[in-house]
Assembly symmetry: C2
């Protein structure tokens, strides 16, 4: 990961705070599954040797922590939420790699390609269950009981996790269905992305507030912020999935086009209509694209305005996310850090 | 399914009570996933046409209902628990079939073999999340609020589901690990089976009581009953996995031996030691067994006392299950029906 001045300090702070609890949670997995989760999270290599890499950017833990602070609660209230959201996010990545038959992620072999499909399926299942366990019983994480919510707020947070997980899965199912159809409209694409990415970021951005027992209005505003930010995040992801630098993303160039993903730039390009859109639709029906066809498809998406449309959508959603923050009376420092994280997510290059 | 006079009436009663709520829960899945769940549950064929079959025996819903009645609560308290446990059980079957590469279940193609691995993975994921959703928010099932537990008991029930799911998955992971090792001792095998089958039956047998807010002592006794019953259930399953009639079980004869499963009869046979046990261990190391080797292995397990040992274990566990019921002051009619279900589970032939 490139370390520039633009990385918000809260990402490191959240990692330092949530990281140990996430490791403690993974320790609760059975000895057969623990090494697979640790490998996927970047904590060790395929042989179990500790690794310097510490996984992803940590956006979700940061949002969970900030959502507690934003309603005036101690940051610790966000910890079980941050752990649960990271577990759900990573279980979905492990299963998505099985579903998409992706052999590499973050420049390393994916779990299924290293340990087999069966073990990738079961470790993902275990991580989904573990997310609920740590939310419903934060004692498992060894946290100070005074800085954990009561049973009622844990039940609300568990509902928040279960609902977001269900929406995320529904979005992924729609994404899979889109791969098999010739064309998808922008509206359908946005609905899919709201599920696939919006739901879990909405959960991450409000779960600390839920655990702290914050009033419904604040929770709703934070959730709206997260859902909109998720949409911006996904629009950027869609751009990187076609025009991202393979060295930075760790995926082949235009990998989304190779997999016939009907992402936002593609849906917007197809909506432009005309002969070029028909040519693009034709290419996306090919069972396997050759290199020159991949380049041609990417060029067509750009010419047809798909790249610009997705960029605009990212900016618009970022605007909506920031506007949502103004609907609640949030702690100023946490408010400012949420804004900083949001801008970072939209400006990232991988 | 053979319908004889010995099938407890409560199984039909529980199906009539839990069935409609289970269907309502499955309706909450996204349109892409609903048909796969309905197919797996036996409600429709591969093309979505309604089917006469109504899935499994319904032991788990019956236990959930009875566990509410056993503590003097209305049977309705058991419904969300019955739905959630059925969802967890069936998600695990769908994923187990992917993991074991089983092409048939209950005389029909498995979900992955019909719809592909990716869709089988994601529908299972969705069913796991759905189980938590219906427990945490029984309004989703359209149940009368007066006959549903409060938020606190819902949180306890959600913990019960999450813990049982995690234990079940850990047991399955151990089962997978056993396939790759030459020998397993009886103790290790029983630990695996306690996770794989005991945990979820323990949850099914107590969740109605949890939802009804019953005292801890009653919940613990019912849970112990279920865990022991699960162990008896699994011992019978292990016997059927080697000596079951393929027409009744819907699986090839000795299917467990073909898959190198180290089940209880095998572990007990290997523990006998001597030349025959070494021959059995050798056969179980073959990458692929020929028909005559499968017969020889089954014969060896029997000669070495594995069949008898598993039968005795089933009876012993049934005894412990029934004894656990006496530790709590349960409603007599529900108590008697729990005994009836327990005997049915151990006497079944498929």
């Amino acid at each position: 990961m490139t370390r520039t001045g633009s990385i918000p300090a809260v990402l490191e702070r959240a990692k330092a705070l949530v990281g140990p609890s996430l490791r403690r949670a993974v320790e609760l997995l059975s000895p057969e599954l623990r090494p697979l989760a640790a490998y996927h999270l970047g904590w060790c290599d395929a042989d179990g040797r500790p690794s310097a890499d510490d996984g992803g950017k940590g956006v979700r833990p940061a949002l969970a922590i900030l959502s507690a602070e934003a309603v005036g609660a101690h940051q610790a209230y966000g910890v079980p939420g941050g752990v649960a959201v990271e577990l759900v996010h990573n279980f979905s990545l492990i299963h998505d790699d099985v579903i998409d038959e992706d052999a590499e992620r973050r420049h390393r072999p994916t779990v299924w390609s290293l340990f087999g499909i069966g073990r990738a399926v079961i470790v993902g299942d275990a991580m989904q269950a573990l997310a609920q366990q740590v939310i419903l019983d934060p004692k498992l994480l060894g946290l100070v009981p005074e800085l954990a919510g009561d049973d009622l707020s844990a039940a609300s947070a568990a509902r928040c996790i279960a609902d977001a997980t269900a929406e995320m899965i529904a979005g992924q199912a729609l994404d899979m269905a889109f791969e098999a159809v010739p064309t998808v409209d922008v509206e359908g694409c946005l609905a899919m992305e709201a599920g696939k990415t919006g739901a879990l970021l909405g959960c991450a951005s409000s779960i600390g507030a839920v655990l702290a027992g914050a009033p419904e209005g604040s929770v709703a505003a934070l959730k709206r912020f997260g859902v909109e930010l998720g949409m911006a995040f996904q629009a950027v992801d869609d751009l990187l999935g076609i025009w991202g630098d393979p060295v930075a993303t760790g995926k082949p160039a235009s990998s989304d086009l190779r997999q016939h993903k009907k992402t936002l730039p593609v849906a917007a390009a197809l909506a432009a209509g005309g002969a070029l859109a028909e040519e693009l639709a034709g290419l996306l029906c090919e069972s396997r694209l050759e290199e020159r066809q991949v380049s041609r498809a990417a060029g067509l998406v750009e010419t047809l305005g798909g790249r610009e449309a997705a960029g605009e959508e990212a900016e618009r959603r970022l605007g909506s996310a920031l506007a949502a923050l103004e609907d609640a009376d949030l702690t100023p420092s946490a408010h400012d850090e949420l804004v900083e994280v949001a801008r970072f997510v939209v400006d990232r290059e991988h």
